[in-house]
């Protein structure tokens, strides 16, 4: 038996979050993720493993160390203009305390990265960016906002970012903070004291297609470990488990949340990725807009959801074939879906194969295995009652 990790390791020096020792102490299985030594899952002996961690987030609560994510702050009189110039969503619609999903684009309309834009103050914005693109993103933002009167700061190493995700997340975090979390709507932020730490940024955001929060605490090891453990203790009555990148990936895949390097990249444009609703073409002058306007009518491939109808698991990079066996596209992310109990995938195919119900094949170890196009997101969280 020889294991082939579906996320390839990189050869650069490995970076560690402030919680690295805590993960190792808990017996987490560690992997190299975009140059970061991160937990992929915690031991089965403590009720974890990708499936249990995934289910905890769907039905209860799980917590993730996502400190590898980067943070860029833009502040100053022209901060809004700067954010508008480099991002595709319309940040002028954000009230103070509100956040939005957006993306940084190259002039050709492809992705530098996807980001969450938080409006923290009248003239203050925080972009939360991906781990693997931290330096690239910061340089991009700095270089493309020089003409605006606003300071650009890389705060990536300043925070330990912990995600508390799942329907019970609000109850767990409420035990540890004076902030009234019921008043914080999804994709809004507040500040409050958490575990005795004052003025902590608390965002009702996440990457799990579930309700949840992400908190930004000081990045020193002692504080990070203390807060991590206090959340686990507070969550005991709700069955909280620590979750690794394995569950993070399966959760985001069920919710069709894009992953940089998979569904979006520097060679994939906004229309192909199906992220139209986050791209405000009525907004003038943002980088990538002109190319997108030209590209709109001629999209040659589109992102679809697949469900395997025959026995087999589609994996990242596998070929998608038509029913005659001709190659028509490729899988960007594929996995068993622990909550849906199906084998699902996202794939790029020509638009004529994108209709729900279209029968296609996925090539798995030389065999053509039946799949069909299904509606996405695969999973949508139930509406609050």
């Amino acid at each position: 038996m020889s294991s082939v990790e579906t996320t390839p390791a990189t050869a650069t020096a490995v970076r560690k979050t402030a919680l690295n020792a805590v993960h190792r102490q808990m017996g987490a299985k560690m992997v190299d993720f975009n140059g970061w030594d991160m937990p992929v899952e915690y031991p089965a002996a403590m009720g974890c493993g990708i499936i249990n961690e995934h289910m905890a987030v769907r039905t209860g609560v799980g917590i993730f160390d996502v400190s590898h994510m980067g943070d860029i702050r833009l502040a100053g009189p022209k901060a809004l203009d700067a954010v508008q110039h480099i991002s595709m969503n319309d940040a002028s619609r954000l009230a103070v305390g509100q956040a939005q999903y957006s993306a940084l684009l190259y002039p050709q309309g492809t992705f530098v990265d996807d980001v969450i834009v938080h409006r923290l103050g009248e003239d203050e914005y925080l972009l939360v960016i991906n781990a693997g693109t931290r330096e690239k993103d910061f340089n991009w933002v700095r270089d493309n906002t020089r003409q605006f009167d606003c300071a650009v700061e890389n705060l990536s190493d300043d925070f330990t970012q912990i995600a508390i995700q799942g329907p019970k997340g609000v109850e767990v975090l409420q035990k540890l903070t004076d902030a009234d979390l019921s008043a914080v709507k999804f994709y809004w932020v507040t500040r409050g004291t958490i575990c005795g730490l004052r003025d902590i940024l608390i965002a009702r955001t996440g990457y799990t297609a579930e309700d949840g929060f992400e908190i930004y605490i000081p990045a020193d090891e002692a504080t990070s470990a203390r807060v991590w453990n206090e959340i686990l203790n507070a969550g005991k009555e709700f069955g909280v488990v620590p979750c690794g990148l394995g569950a993070r990936n399966t959760l985001r895949l069920e919710g069709k949340l894009p992953l940089y390097g998979h569904e979006i990249s520097d060679t994939i444009n906004v229309w192909e990725a199906g992220l139209d609703r986050f791209c405000k073409m009525e907004k003038t002058g943002f980088i990538g807009r002109a190319a997108l306007e030209k590209a709109a009518p001629g999209v040659k491939r589109t992102l679809v959801g697949l469900e395997m109808v025959e026995r087999g698991i589609a994996r990242d990079g596998y070929k998608v074939l038509d029913d005659r066996g001709s190659e028509i596209g490729y899988v960007t992310s594929g996995s068993p879906a622990p909550f849906l109990k199906k084998n699902i995938a996202l794939a790029y195919v020509p638009p004529e194969f994108a209709a729900v119900g279209t029968a296609v094949k996925v090539e798995i170890r030389g065999q053509s295995v039946g799949a069909q196009v299904v509606p996405t997101p695969f999973y949508k969280r139930p509406k609050k009652t």
Binding site: M1, S2, T6, I50, G246, R365
Partner: protein, 129 residues
């Protein structure tokens, strides 16, 4: 983890338990532990010829795809159909969850495989403990 002494082990983390000229093959506790939740097992058909050291099937966890390597050469006489429906049994009982039964071509091939004690040592070294 004490590895059963009634069988031999490979450095690719399979076990093989011989009885005369037939043998059963599975993966070790260490293998299932490092794979994580196993969700898919693909085995050869009865009658397939296995060659020592060559792949004969696939086991997949949520996250990873792994090849199975034949510890010895032989002809498949039976496969464990239980694992198709319940692949998670490999996690809960790795040393009881045999995958294929083979008629050994040359029982002498097993002599070069690892004993339980040697395998345990190998695993400890490999995981840097």
């Amino acid at each position: 983890m004490a590895y059963p002494t009634d069988r031999k082990y490979t450095k690719e983390h399979e076990w093989i338990q011989a009885s005369g000229t037939t043998a059963t093959v599975g993966i070790t506790d260490h293998a299932q532990e490092s794979l994580g939740d196993i969700v898919f097992v693909e085995l050869p058909k009865v009658g397939a010829e296995l060659a020592a050291g060559k792949t004969f099937g696939t086991v997949e966890s949520v996250k990873a795809v792994s090849d199975l390597y034949a510890p010895a050469s032989g002809t498949v006489t039976e496969t464990n159909g239980d694992l198709t429906a319940s692949p998670e049994k490999v996690n809960t009982d790795p040393h009881g969850s045999w995958m294929v039964k083979i008629a050994l071509k040359n029982a002498g091939e097993l002599d070069s495989l690892l004993s339980a004690a040697d395998y345990e040592k190998f695993v400890a070294e490999e995981s840097g403990h």
